[in-house]
Symmetry: C5
Subunit: 308 residues, 5 copies
């Protein structure tokens, strides 16, 4: 995620970091080059003048506006839903920690060693989900939270976050059966685990189900045809300015399209993606603070305007 | 569901799999052919020049934009709601399994044989719902999950998913009366069954209630009239390019319309429909993993870019 | 509700059932006739040429697009919310039945006769709500579900669905006091009754609160003025085609408007309204199936494409 | 709230009740008068012809469409959310009454006198909220529901609805401590009170937080500039029809704007506001019917098409 | 937040307080000045006439409309979600107070001193969240609510609101273990704490996750290019009026853009931000009133139309 103030004035035009420009540069260059050729030839190919009035542009433009507007909203909704799901993980884990720390009856056995793994299981679950979504290796983070032994057992499972939540549930069941936790409060705590299960499934849903491919195809095709026909429609009235205007229009259309592609699956590591690393640090910090620990991880800081 | 990266450059124009082009080809061909005829005749039929300016197109286009935009959003919302309902089934079934595995009191009777059918009843319910939505035979999948005897009894009922959930409820009631499950945790587990009931009813709702037919009718009629009037409006300024432009406009409008038709009822087996087979495998895998089983089904893989 | 496949090709233009055409025919005929008169007179009334350029149409069209788009979404949202509320009634009643059938402790008294009226009270509530929304007489359906005596007592109340749910609550209270139902499960069952209460109040809300009248008025006025000014704006360029184009534009605008009027209050018996009869059969069937009955009502079938 | 069928044909143009016309008449008159002056002078002021083409109108129109569409949706969403909150109060109070009437254990003390004040406290809360939102005096309605003594004590509090709900909670606590209500059912009943608390806070939120003032300002300014520039843009092509068309455009824009102003805060007593009086009668009737009373208030009837 | 009636007539044009004009004045001035230069030179730079027709404006305008409409909705949704979260804090804290005051069993120890800190912990949490969001010092407000000693302990924690809620949870746990609060009611009260936890996390989410930077960049760039090209497109038809029209168009586009920037993060202290001070006073007043206190803070009043 890009974290920076909005640049002002001319500076605006020289910002590259976080811009979609790099990813659309090839298509844009081809498009502008083509416009230059059309301008130089005055739209005449093989002794044949290709004359396109502005009429087709407003007609295709209508469909294009619907596509772009729709896809844009759909992609941003997915981005924001992804962020909400991680926000729910933040508060579900804080409420989970409060439950573990506050509502136990004092039992015969000393309860110190038992509470920490229960709380940290949720931190581990957040790390595991992040690594699963990004296809990276969770081992290091999990070991820091839970220790080698537990991690070895858990990582045999295909769905590691679910395994960690089941382990937490097993702990609740032990407390229930030993009378350390009233059944009413087990239901409350289990509700937290169910919320975390729902967050994980929600993230899987967004990551595994793209916007229907046929939309993407229709949109790309229409945008490309539109922008490559454009020089023919403009050359007779704009003359030498044609490539400039074509470049501007193509920049906005290709840019909007590429941005949709980027934030549609917001859990990756591209510049405009969600800062899952930082969110996991927030969750782990909250949980360890609830345990009363004081050697907390440093708050995440953006590096060159980017929070990963 | 089509699962593939976005093709780049010219490749974009030759992708057929997942495109709506095949389903709109007949109407598109007729439309373009008609445009060719109009172009050849210069818009003169029976010695009478049919002259249509661009004015009607912007007027009808206004209504058309409202229709297309509305229908497009409504159809996608149904698609996405369908996906959300199946996502809820994923996490409700995981939480159900956690409940069965973690919160029972140890009773006198050995509890091994009882837990598995309780967990697998939910896997069977997912399969049954999928087959009900697609009108296929659920027997094979159900027998694999629950065994012949149970399935024979359950399939006498008209609504098989509801019957399976009622059977799971009966099991909860038995555990309640034998004291193996605290009533508080019965309420938690019953809440899971209620969620699954709601998911099934939500899917039935989407499958049985189309977007009001009058919308579909208005939209089709307006789009057809628009595209068949178009050659008359363009022939005087675009001359020989008329069929090309008419084809492009008709491709986007008919394509958007056909795509809406396809994803409006997203539970079928067309290319852009939801991958219910894969989702059922996910659910069954999660449940069997929660039971501690290790001979899990293979993760679903797309075949020629398609996940069913 | 119209249930039919989308007609193809020319058949599209001859479908009447489910179309809004019949309800807008008078206004449409007057509008086209007026366009014919304007065309014949070439826009000259009383020796005075009424000349309207296309400018006003794009200006008023802007406001009109906002109105139509807004009203269209608002009306469809009400339609779809109505459908969702009835979908919630379907699953709330199924979960209610599961509760009654599964979680009772066996008491001293034989429990056969008590369960059926408790389950069927919810079926009766659905029928009562449907009849209340449509202003028809609920007696016959209620008697079939609950018997003469109960119905006579309940129908003295002004709000019959609420009375039926209160009666079901009274039954829960009896089971609570006799120890046949744990208080935890009473809360679960009462949650079902609260959901049904909310569904009923939601339907009352939609039925009793139209879209603010001032919107309807502004929209009608703008649409009428727009369509009746239209011939003056088109006659100089389209000549003899004017009435045709005016008819097409008016058909889409009046049609969209009339459709909004129709589905704004979706609980009636017009062609595009919700099939409350079929939904009540679904609910009653589910409940009787949960009771183990086998002489179930026939599944509702559309008649001449219409499900009521 | 206006309750009337949609007028047809010419009658449409003479409806005043519920129209926004009266509130925009002054601005509209000034605008049309100005257009007449411009038309008479042919756009020439001080020997200087003010020539405005249609270009600025489509440019400013773009921004205006965004403003109007946005504000319109935002205002209607507030209206409809207000209605939903009151709908929730209807069903929360019905479920509250069911709870009071059904789930008490019979205690030693006769329970007749205790139930009624508990049920009616919620009716009083609805009345108190309505009077608070409208800035009127609640005393009369409260005394009818709860009697002089209770009301005197409650009205010392600044937030009367909250005080009434706290009193109801106190009653629940008494029943809890005397064993007349199981703690599980106290949680269910308290959930009803929490819903009512949320409804009250939601209404306060809508009433106290307008759409950001800067939007209103931008919208008003743009709409006024647009409509007062319009005669200059139209006079050269429409001549004598200019004031008529300006009037039509201004009517729709000012009307949409004024309507937004009206329904943005929907709890007042203007014609298109929500019928809080009628809703309170509905709530009180439901509660008294649940108590078994039969001398119920008359159902609210619209007076000259208006329900207050 | 600006709280004032809508000004009428000409007064409308002289309102500065709450307008976005001041923040866009520099860019606007540069733009208009540039338009003046273009007008004076008749678009001729270095003997070269720069001729731009209106075509590019409608093409870029299409993309611009999508950007502005999207960003506007997204920013307002964040504003309104922020307001909803604080509205939830209002009612969650009222329900929390009702729980503390109504559902305790009388214990051996006098309970006076214990209830107040439990209730006021939530008031302190609201103050702490406000100060955290605004980056100000919470000490003074916290000390007034909880006293020096508690505050010193709590403020050692990094996340003060979470620490305060954990402390409240500890109090609940004490009451649970001493039998003063039934476990069922502990779950109800803990649900309130979970709601408050969710509100705090929601506010953190909005404050820490801006709309993706690439959108902001694309929008700014497109709007600037559009407005600086505009004089070339208008000068040939509008002549001397060009700077005026450019100023109007730029005012609406830059204004909409700046307004989005302002309300995107609604928790600050700019004029159109949410009145968190007033909301905290409301929460504290409600809680102290529930405790029976009568020396309540004065209701917040806007100062020069602004509520902070």
């Amino acid at each position: 995620m890009i974290v920076r103030d909005r640049p002002h004035g001319l500076a605006l035009f020289f910002v590259m970091r976080g811009s979609v420009l790099p990813s659309i540069l090839p298509a844009l260059a081809v498009n502008v080059l083509f416009a230059v050729v059309v301008t130089v030839l005055h739209g005449v190919f093989l002794d044949h003048k290709i004359e396109v009035t502005t009429a087709p542009f407003s007609l295709i433009g209508l469909a294009l506006a619907i596509f772009l507007g729709f896809r844009n909203s759909a992609a941003y909704d997915r981005y924001w839903e992804g962020r909400k799901l991680w926000g729910e993980m933040v508060h579900a884990s804080r409420s989970w920690a409060r439950g573990v720390m506050c509502y136990l009856h004092s039992g015969d056995a000393p309860d110190g060693p038992r509470r920490r793994p229960m709380v940290m299981a949720v931190a581990a679950m957040a790390h595991a989900l992040r690594h699963q979504l990004r296809g990276t290796d969770a081992r290091e983070d999990l070991v820091r939270c839970l220790g080698e032994e537990t991690v070895a057992r858990v990582m045999e499972r295909r769905n590691v976050p679910a395994a960690l939540l089941q382990q937490a549930g097993q702990g609740l069941g032990d407390w229930l059966r030993s009378g350390r936790l009233d059944p009413q409060l087990v239901t409350t705590m289990e509700a937290r685990l169910a919320e975390l299960t729902a967050c994980a499934a929600g993230c899987e849903r967004i990551a595994s189900t793209p916007i229907p491919f046929a939309y993407t195809l229709l949109l790309h095709r229409t945008a490309y045809i539109y922008c490559f026909l454009l020089p023919f429609g403009l050359v007779d009235t704009l003359h030498g300015l044609t490539p400039l205007v074509v470049g501007l229009v193509a920049y906005t259309f290709f840019g909007l399209d590429a941005l949709g592609d980027e934030i549609e699956d917001p859990f990756g590591t591209q510049l405009n993606h969600l800062p899952l690393d930082a969110l996991c640090v927030t969750i782990e910090t909250s949980l360890r603070e609830a345990l009363g620990e004081t050697d907390l991880p440093a708050p995440p800081q953006p590096e060159r305007y980017v929070l990963t």
